[in-house]
Symmetry: D2
């Protein structure tokens, strides 16, 4: 009963096999191998246009380098106040950009509030050497509250960003889960909806370590090879990241894995619904279930060996004798695990 | 006949198996798993003292974060002018430290010239807000010229560094090859000889991607978790790096792999010796052979499918009709490959 | 009728004379002259203890270097959401610290709300490589809303900071006006109340360009000479800044100048009170008057040549037909100017 | 007998008077005053084209921000190994650029050696994410050895820089002295000879504190207001720097001051020539005399109260019983001072 994080999961057999096969081969280093090229080509195929792709080590690195790629002196990034760049990267964005500022904005259920966004942007318009200038808008899909922006919601944020000549960044640490939920094409949910740059995460969804920055207009990517290398993020044996992405994007594996994780989350949600006082804080639309549990129930579950985190962000109100907990499912979560947890809480 | 770089090699079966085994398991993220602890414990065992170990993605990251860990405002790092931090990291050390300066010093066969080192240090002594201050001395073991510092040579550099209150850093991208050559203990070649901080590379010697910063005095490591995370270098599924190191350091696998690579280099050296005008630029002591080849021979070899790099650094003089080339062997180089290359050059 | 900013004022005759006198002399550069020493000694005398003082070019530099002096990897600075470091320095603090984050907190009338401060600090406690760590608390005295913290209020903030092992910084761009208002000793309002590091501004209060970082515990200042020089903030002819401070702190000139400015603000406040619908947004306690004016009145005043700024921060509510404006007085403001403005608004 | 540095001199009466006159006036802050505009217009007039000008606090800031204005990820700056950016700015260029590297090159008498420059540039061509890329060439006019590049020499360096798509920077901390020596127009010595960006120093030549970055193509200056402000280098009472430049550039005052300083240096040179074993290390062409003195003579001079620095850079060879010393003259040096020094050494 491991629901602590999809980061605690292992890796999918197809991913491991691809790496193992490549391990027996020789190939050019630093991204120069045929497999690297093939993996990049898969990204272009998946997104239905030629994209520039840069493999990096972690999601934090992807976010920080994405922001570096659109960096401006005195730049401010508009994002949700609970987003990972603010809450979980130890100032990495600020560091890797040499001082850009993250302006955390409110918004229900982990999504940017449009009025708050427009108000914040207006406060820094026009650019000034005193207050600086807006340099990017960032949203997280699926969000930190487990919710998913609709295409229309993404478009709306993108239009606001573009109206102020800012790129739209999507932190896609769980991009596959969001796609699986929306059941739309990767192109539709990204560049066709206004996304300019994407942190494409695969680690949480069955890879060993495979993260990438995807720049939809390759003309904007000229500086990225230098930015990535300078940050110590260019793998010498890049082939082994390529091998993961190659297998991950082949024949829709990534979406299959995400669909499974989402289904497990939904099974958990359904099982808990109304059960013994539990109720959802936000709608479960991907692979995360945020649910208020009675304290005694939470303790009982933990005592039985279940791993999960209490959640203190997002502003959901819970009863005095309850806590908000986050359950995260993964590609490897089994129905039995889910059912055992449900059973225990009944 | 792949002699371009040990970065072009695949990964050793034991490493791949360890990763595959771990992929089937669940474990805490961000370094919190039992396997992470076990891998760290192996480092302490190998170095015969409790050390602080930080896994990172690349050798450049290891170097940059090692320098960040000993950073000083206005700091200058004394290193060899051909070292990787200068030649191959796109300014990563300067970036990750927020502006430390690499002062490249001359030295025969890739090793720091002691007089040049002392002269350079004296030039910045005492510290001043105008010229800055020495903050570290760095040497590369095995060096970029394929040579290996003796214990006595390391000690000498360490004493100079310490006399000026600077730590000694060792860039050990090929530390296993150096150890295999010297046939001394890891402790003897590092902290017992004066090394304070080590970039421990395993990727080139049979891993997929496994690099670490080793700080011999754990009391000096307090800031490193923050430095590493901020730089986007903390793997979420850190277990898969731990799995590599765990297998790598178990039962001396790492030294076995290095010994094989070194033996292949020596076989190549011996086979080329005197052959058709070829001669060594520097003594082959690890897994690199730097040899002057007649241009026509080099072209013939390349035409036959051999991969290797011309070398323009290090100051070795070659005849007008010759070029200096670098052959790098790896854990996976076979005697047949070596013999084929030798044969072709005869 | 210049009420735009105390930055628009000229310089006091005593300051100009001191600079002119020094201009005829020769002296050591970079802070090494006798006059530099004398000016530093005046700081120690004024603050009743030996302090470390570093002259810099601007208030933004003082703030940025003050934060650099207490910098931590992954560090977060708790400050008021309307403070100058957030609103008016183009990301200078983030840049000069290499990525520290400013966390803007709410608070009425420009002062930190204690509950919000404690809540924010708790959110980052204990330090973590994921969310980072609190590194400083900063307050502005006199605040951006023209208000002044009482000694007790400063003490309260200081105690919270120290309880979490953070230093307390005071942005004293208008420190003299606050002192003149409170009528306490400089020591009482700073280190005796818990302030560890002070951005000491003199430019707004009658100098040409004289700003300083004051570190109350000189033992913490060891890195500052390097930080300042590296940032291009060490004046070669430092004597001319020293000359300003020497005259400024001599015989209480600084407090006389501030008292005059404050008296002019109070005269303006009193004259406007109730006049034609005008009312104070916050209590006038220094040299700034924040007042709601009917739009037509504001326009009439501007048409008559008065300079002042509309104010959109701080959350004061004004009537639909009114705007909030800021009037700033200076050492050079005359009663006639003030009276002319009052007359016009009647 | 003050020959330590032109930084030890006071300020010219005309400069002081201009500041004093402006001190009695009111004017817009942050560069928005009429006087700021007027001073900028003087720069354009002096350089015979519209230029972008940015006042800053120090020469180090001018150099660091000039390099920031042309910054590139992984960028390398080619400059003389004894230049001020390397020897005297505590890593400020590296810091303000976020990690650009200064590559110090040899060259006789303080001037870049053309072959060394071309060789170094070739070593980083074409750009690579591994070794980085050349981003600027910088020369110092007058150089740190007191010598002056001819127009032809500047042109030659400029052509090399431009051939590799790099801008040419001139560190003009003593630009007036060089102009006075060459007796050419400011335009001829700068943009007409290929200079793209200039650190324009006036402090050493009679100002209190007046330094500027001059960008000859204003279209390249768009980011500079942000870069300057972010670095804490935008003076609030910018008018007082403007007042200095306005007086300095009016009616050729700056060149008169420099001509005087140069004449004093030449008088000193002539007086010392052959005197008692003294001889010039490099030709005296501006306001610095580098001369080898017998140790006993140097000590005698110092004992008599003369201030000057021993010089250890530049590679000049002196006899065993001699030292190399630098005498710097200033706008305020008197013939009597010079003659007294000469007399003492006879």
């Amino acid at each position: 009963m491991q629901f602590a994080s999809d980061n605690w999961a292992g890796a999918a057999p197809q991913i491991v096999e691809a790496v193992a096969a490549e391990a027996a081969r020789v190939g050019a280093a630093y991204g120069g191998s045929a497999l690297d090229e093939q993996a990049v080509a898969r990204f272009s195929a998946v997104f239905e246009r030629e994209v520039a792709v840069f493999f990096v080590a972690t999601g934090s690195a992807a976010n920080g380098l994405a922001m570096s790629a659109v960096n401006q002196t005195g730049g401010v990034i508009f994002c949700h106040e609970d987003c990972h760049m603010i809450e979980g990267e130890c100032g990495g964005v600020e560091f890797l950009t040499g001082g850009a500022r993250l302006m955390g904005l409110p918004g229900a259920a982990g999504k940017l509030d449009i009025d708050a966004l427009e108000h914040a942007i207006a406060g820094l318009s026009p650019p000034s050497e005193h207050h600086g200038r807006g340099m990017a808008v960032s949203l997280t899909q699926q969000s930190e509250a487990g919710t998913v922006y609709s295409l229309e919601e993404i478009r709306q944020v993108g239009e606001i960003a573009h109206a102020h000549e800012m790129p739209l960044h999507m932190d896609g640490a769980r991009v596959a889960n969001a796609l699986a939920h929306l059941n739309v094409s990767p192109a539709a949910m990204t560049w066709k909806a206004g996304v300019d740059i994407l942190s494409f995460g695969a680690t949480k969804n069955g890879c060993l370590a495979a993260e990438a920055v995807v720049i939809f207009d390759p003309a904007r990517a000229a500086d990225m090879p230098f930015l990535r290398k300078r940050a110590g993020q260019l793998f010498s044996k890049s082939r082994f990241v390529a091998a993961q992405f190659d297998a991950y994007l082949r024949d829709g594996l990534w979406l299959d894995l995400a669909r499974h994780a989402n289904a497990m989350a939904d099974r958990l949600r359904a099982g808990l619904a109304g059960s013994n006082g539990a109720y959802e804080a936000w709608p479960t639309t991907g692979n995360e279930v945020f649910v208020a549990l009675r304290r005694d129930n939470a303790e009982r579950l933990r005592a039985a060996g279940a791993a999960f985190h209490e959640w203190t962000r997002g502003g959901a109100e819970v009863a005095d004798d309850a806590i908000l907990v986050r359950f995260v499912t993964a590609f490897s979560t089994t129905p039995d695990e889910v059912d055992a947890a449900i059973e225990m809480l009944r």
